[in-house]
């Protein structure tokens, strides 16, 4: 089989799931291609560390005024629409940012517990724990950015492409996933009674710490890394996620479902080389992580017993709740667009969310049986 092209390998760095099964297989068997891909990734990460910078804060109103001034100098230009444009654009952009941000927070929260196992790199890293309970950390936008920096310290492999299997009902979902799939006896008013069921296969994601990558990042940023403990280089943490069942209740054709009920087996963790504790301790000592995030994670205690749910502080709030006797968290977006309730019981993580109020989400969650 022909070697992979440079273009294919570079694109796979940005879109790992775009790599076809045959190419993935080739990559696993072909040392020269694996080495080329590694070099491509190092260069890409280096460029990203320099160029994936904080976005400039755009002042649209000021921009319009500047353009107005420039356009006035132009013969035949009409400027009457600029005032209207300014006020409308300001109002619209403010609302859309709030709405999209709030929904993104909910999506992030759902992804964080592994309901969609092919999650982000940050997810791969922070969900390394076999949970017996859940806890939340409030992440600011800066914290989220700092989390994404972690990929510069090692190699991340995300699970292969997922193809959801549509099944007829809860019974079929139970048979396909091996879990007893729960259904709500209560649904908020207006929610359709019929749900569409999907079963997503589990996968394995991993993070391999790399001293050379870490040093490359440090050199690019003219900073010093803490001494790397013996045995850490090449240590791998693997996260094995189980099947996930999603039941979606949606009345309209809108992009946001009315209600989603999901459940998945708690992820399991496997390590080679250093222990989870050692890797966590070193990663938390790396530069780039905000001190707030660092202290929040450290305060959670035993990392193999707590599933961390990252909650974007700017867009959502969370607080503990009790669902059927189990401790969980309710996460609500800051604009009232929707809510999610997440809890863990008997090795299964459950989530109920959608465009509904927190009380409705909680009542729905308590009715699962």
């Amino acid at each position: 089989m022909a070697h992979l092209s440079e273009a294919t390998m570079r694109r796979s760095v940005d879109e790992p799931l775009a790599l076809g099964a045959r190419d993935r297989q080739h990559l696993g068997l072909c040392s020269p291609c694996a080495a080329r891909l590694d070099a491509i990734e190092v260069d890409a990460l280096y460029a990203a560390s320099l160029l994936s910078t904080r976005e400039p804060e755009v002042n649209s109103a000021q921009a319009f005024r500047s353009i107005q001034t420039q356009m006035k100098r132009e013969p035949g230009a009409r400027t009457t629409w600029f005032a209207r444009l300014t006020s409308r654009a300001r109002a619209r952009s403010h609302m859309s940012v709030l709405a999209s941000g709030a929904f993104a927070a909910l999506v992030a929260a759902l992804m964080a517990i592994g309901l969609t196992p092919a999650g982000s790199i940050a997810q791969s890293f922070i969900n390394l724990f076999e949970p017996q309970q859940v806890a939340t950390v409030q992440l600011s936008a800066a914290d989220l950015r700092s989390l994404s920096q972690l990929r510069h310290f090692g190699k991340v492999n995300v699970p292969g492409s997922l193809s959801p299997q549509h099944v007829a009902d809860a019974r079929a979902a139970s048979a396909a996933s091996g879990m007893h799939v729960l259904s709500p006896s209560f649904r908020p008013r207006g929610t359709p009674s019929a749900a569409s069921y999907e079963v997503l296969g589990g996968g394995t994601g991993s993070f391999t710490f790399s001293t050379s990558r870490s040093k490359a990042w440090a050199a690019a940023h003219h900073t010093q890394l803490p001494p790397v403990p013996a045995g850490l280089d090449g240590s791998t943490l693997s996260v094995i996620t189980g099947d996930t069942v999603l039941a979606t209740y949606s009345a309209g054709s809108g992009s946001l479902p009315d209600l989603v009920v999901g459940q998945t087996r708690a992820p399991r963790i496997a390590t080679t080389g250093a222990s989870v504790h050692d890797i966590e301790a070193y990663v938390l000592s790396l530069p780039g992580l905000s001190s707030t995030l660092r202290s929040q994670i450290q305060s959670l205690g035993n990392p193999i017993s707590v599933l961390v749910l990252p909650v974007p502080a700017d867009f959502a709030t969370s607080h503990p709740v009790t669902v059927n006797g189990a401790r969980g968290y309710a996460i609500s977006d800051s604009t009232g667009l929707g809510s999610v309730v997440i809890w863990e019981k008997d090795g299964v993580i459950y989530g109920v969310g959608g465009t509904l109020s927190e009380s409705d989400a909680l009542q729905t969650a308590n009715s699962l049986g």
Binding site: S5, E6, A7, T8, M9, R10, R11, D14, I40, D43, A44, Y46, A47, A48, L50, L51, S52, T53, R54, E55, P56, E57, V58, N59, S60, Q62, A63, F64, S66, I67, Q70, M71, E74, R78, W81, L85, R88, A89, R92, S93, A142, A219, A220, H221, H222, S290, S291
Partner: protein
Amino acid sequence: MVSVASRWVSLSDRERAFEGLFESEYSRVTAIAYRVLGNASESEDVAQDVFCQFYRLHPPDAPYARSWLYRAATHRALNLIRSNKRRAGRESTVALEHQVTAGAGSREMDPSLKVERSESERELREAMSRLSRKSAAVLALRYGGLSYAEVADALGVRIGQVGTLLRRAEHALRREMNHGTSI
């Protein structure tokens, strides 16, 4: 009378179309310029110049509008960074912006670290200015948030070429930063 009404309608439609284009693309055009310049104020200047130029020369609902704006912003920013006249002013502003950014994230920053970051920022801009125009452009466009398809449109290449261009540009950037030699 009919011609006056038609002209009014035409003008209104044009303004409305430009309004939509501005709203949807201004922040992105600024972000692309920012990847080259590293300076928010200059990036906004570039974006506004580009929008004004586009408004004067093209219909705002043209199918090529977005790719034209992206390409124009990239080239204008590259022209600017290669101009020595503004370099001194840019460096001082970049240093100031870094202090503000770093201060927000890490409370009080070591002054020596501020100097190092400013120096690192200056090295990056110089490295970008030494890259080939196409390499610098693909970096600005991709890290400015464009998809592979959008980068291909803006550069006028096939989508299959974007990965290769990006790979070569990133390799060249690393070499420029590490060795200060062009490839």
